[in-house]
Symmetry: C2
Subunit: 168 residues, 2 copies
């Protein structure tokens, strides 16, 4: 199972591809798409859309997981994050890849077992779970990997529950 | 000059195409794209994106004008409107059509000369300025036409100012 995680933003969009082999999680690739401050919003969204389509074509993920803030700090930033999310959801949907959205609390809970953990704690757990020497850089890439790990963990738990149900 | 106006929403997206001939405004087409309540957000965005690309291909607008709420009533609706805006801006940008965003106050000010006018007043002025017998339906279509008229008026005023500058 291969998941593309996305930390959406119109200025910087983090992405991370993680594959699960039994109980092991393996980092395939991660990085951040950075848009030009001189571009219009339309040009930025167009750049992000085309780059995401390339990433999807290159890595052929089975699913795409996108971070969805539950409450944005203000309406302006909510509008911007909404735009970036839309591009991620659209890129996946045009390739018929199922998408899932997770709030930051769900990601933290899943990756660190604690919903109020700090960004640094999440990033350190991403490093440990992927067996890396260093925390992936930039931070947006690490955050995107956390979303992918969260989704793989959700799938794993669902499978365990389903097997338990079959036994009973 | 032909402008496609868009009133963005992930449930209903209004669109309206208006052409200016000297001082006359002519309605070319208008309507609303309605997404299925059973679809995922990714599927909805995909549907809206493909339909908007068809509308752009059919009517070949010179510019696209999108309503941008200045302050959304809450973060959840801001996220949803941001998503719908992104799809409109992306559809235009992939076809290299310039986009412009207007707040509701700008649209009201431009169409009715009064920034705090009611939705009904805006819709009635849309009817009068396009020389129609009835207010275009549904309301989302009339709102989209208002955004297109707002943009055409802005261009008209800019041209008048430029000509004035040349004379002086």
């Amino acid at each position: 199972m291969r998941v593309l995680g996305i930390d959406p933003g119109t200025v910087t969009m983090g992405y991370g591809v993680v594959e699960s082999h039994n109980d092991n999680l393996v980092l395939i690739d991660c990085g951040a798409l950075v848009t030009s401050g001189r571009s219009t919003m339309g040009e930025r969204l167009c750049y992000l859309y085309r780059e995401l389509l390339c990433i999807i074509e290159n890595y052929q993920p089975d699913m795409v997981a996108v971070e969805q803030p539950f409450v944005a700090s203000n309406a302006r930033s909510a509008l911007a994050i909404g735009k970036a999310q839309a591009i991620a959801l659209l890129a996946a949907a045009t390739q018929s890849i199922p998408t899932h959205e997770y709030t930051p609390t769900q990601v933290k809970q899943s990756v660190t077992n604690y919903g109020a953990s700090s960004k640094e704690q999440v990033q350190e757990m991403v490093r440990l779970q992927l067996g890396l020497k260093e925390i992936p850089q930039p931070n947006d890439a690490a955050d995107a990997l956390a979303v992918a790990i969260c989704h793989l963990r959700e799938i794993h738990l669902s499978e365990l529950l389903a097997r338990q149900g079959e036994k009973q």
